[in-house]
């Protein structure tokens, strides 16, 4: 047996925008064990429910993450609405679905750019982020915010989107769809990319399931887990199938994200066709008394907001289980046995969002 050495990976590393530390135990160039460490930027946001009223707390829930911000606020308010037994207007459900798919598009394009950049594929990086600008512009035009939208509230949403703007959004998405097709074709069919990703960092279907993988990390291993299938918001009225790949390697996880962008465009188009007229919010009185595990599908996978109230304005508990947090154990598993040089690529294929994990 070769002599074992331990080398640190992170918390500062060129491929990591946020701090994550891995102690890599190596035998020659092969990783034989991994000890993950987070907690460098833990903010304890959940504790603020004791200081902020449940209606104000939406703004804090949204600030858990700067990428999945809208879906955090959506998951939080739908949990509160469930506890309080609120039947929110149907138009609101469609608007939330549209904005959550825009969030997925901008997150996946952000990831594609960062991932390509980490491998030196600068043209994909620039084009991915150029297309992402279009998505952010639509988010800003319809919500008022590019990163933090601030549009969700308990009982509805703060803004409506006019029918003309909805049509314009679909036309815009159709306009960039072929560019997106070109971009993902170049990325997924490039021989260097395939050489770097195929057969690397393999996570079996069984390991993905029992080690807690969610989102594209799970779907890249053949697990068709997609919380949108539970039908929250307007997803129950939309036809879509989760994108699933079966090889479990880095390439499969990347392919899932690339193909999911087209599913998102299709979902938005269906929503615009089906969205009914009507109000976008309702009057809410009282305070939540009960508990609920509210779930949604973020770009990185299933997010859970556990909410417990006792009939007072301040909640008793708000606990968020983010997808990156539960994707850490699978990451440990898929790094074991890989070459040291492949570690950065493998880490990025789970699209880690430390901001979420360190809520």
């Amino acid at each position: 047996m070769s002599k074992q050495i331990t080398i640190p990976f992170g918390p500062q590393h060129p491929v990591l925008p946020e701090p994550l530390h891995l102690d890599l135990v190596l035998e020659d160039e092969k990783v034989v064990d991994v000890i993950p460490t987070i907690g460098y930027v833990h903010r304890g946001l959940e504790k603020l429910v004791e200081k902020r009223e449940y209606t104000e707390y939406v703004f804090i829930a949204e600030r858990i993450c700067g990428i999945c911000s809208f879906i955090h606020s959506q998951t939080y308010v739908q949990g509160i609405e469930q506890i309080m037994g609120l039947e929110i207007p149907e138009r609101t459900q469609y608007l939330r679905t549209i904005w959550s798919e825009y969030s997925r598009l901008h997150s996946h394009l952000l990831w594609l750019g960062c991932f390509a950049d980490s491998m030196g594929f600068e043209s994909v990086f620039m084009n991915a982020w150029r297309l992402r600008e279009h998505i952010l512009d639509d988010l800003e035009a319809t919500t008022g915010g590019r990163v933090i939208q601030g549009v969700c509230k308990v009982g509805g949403v703060r803004r409506d989107i006019s029918p003309e703007k909805l049509d314009e959004m679909v036309k815009g998405l159709k306009g960039i769809e072929h560019q997106l097709q070109d971009l993902t074709n170049v990325f997924l069919h490039d021989s260097s990319i395939q050489h770097r990703l195929k057969g690397i960092g393999v996570l079996s279907k069984e390991d993905a399931y029992y080690f807690g993988a969610v989102g594209p990390t799970a779907r890249g291993s053949g697990l068709a887990i997609d919380i949108r299938e539970t039908g929250y918001a307007a997803f129950g009225k939309i036809n879509f199938k989760p994108v699933v790949e079966y090889d479990g390697d880095c390439y499969a996880r990347c392919a899932v994200r690339a193909k999911e962008m087209f599913t998102s465009i299709d979902i938005i188009e269906q929503c615009v066709k089906k969205i009914p007229d009507g109000p976008v919010d309702m009057k809410v009185t009282g305070a939540p008394d009960g508990e609920y595990l509210s779930r949604a599908e973020q770009p990185r996978g299933e997010v859970i907001h556990y909410i417990k109230g006792n009939g007072k304005k301040n909640l008793v508990r708000h606990r968020v289980r983010t997808p990156t947090f539960t994707n850490i154990p699978p990451l440990v598993t898929l790094l074991k046995g890989c070459e040291l040089a492949d570690v950065p690529v493998i880490v990025l294929t789970i699209d880690p969002c430390i901001g979420c994990a360190e809520r």
């Binding site: 907690g39 807690g212 508990r317």
Partner: protein, 125 residues
């Protein structure tokens, strides 16, 4: 409206058996969370199969010890270290035990105390 959810209370002694049964039944571990209710701590184990949640709750004191389920579900170590570091509840037998260094906080076990608005220096200026 979304699906109704139920939470089944269990004793500390039943945790490992129930969790083993959940795995045998084909459930995945969704999360373990902790909530402080006055002097008690509620530990909530959540499992999922085909989008149906199964929830078990144990209620303990801070001085009690709960068994780790990381021998059944490898990924449980992140939740169990979190519960130890934020609430100060000892979890016995975690497969990757950070021994209190998973979260590095200025205040030890910060979630084990309840903060009232009166305690908030910023808000009382």
């Amino acid at each position: 409206m979304m699906e109704p959810q139920t939470i089944t209370p269990i004793s500390v002694g039943d945790v490992v058996r129930k969790v083993e049964q959940a795995k045998k039944d084909g459930n995945r571990l969704v999360q373990i969370g902790c909530t402080k209710i006055e002097d008690n701590f509620e530990i909530l184990y959540v499992f999922d199969k085909d989008y149906k949640l199964t929830n078990y709750r144990v209620t303990v004191k801070q001085t009690d010890e709960i068994p780790s389920i990381s021998g059944v579900y490898f990924g449980a170590f992140v939740y169990e270290n979190e519960i130890h570091d934020l609430y100060g509840i000892h979890v016995k037998g975690i497969n990757i035990d950070f021994k209190g260094t998973f979260y590095k906080t200025v205040v030890k076990h910060p979630f084990s105390v309840t903060i009232t608005k009166e305690d908030d220096a910023c808000q009382n200026k």
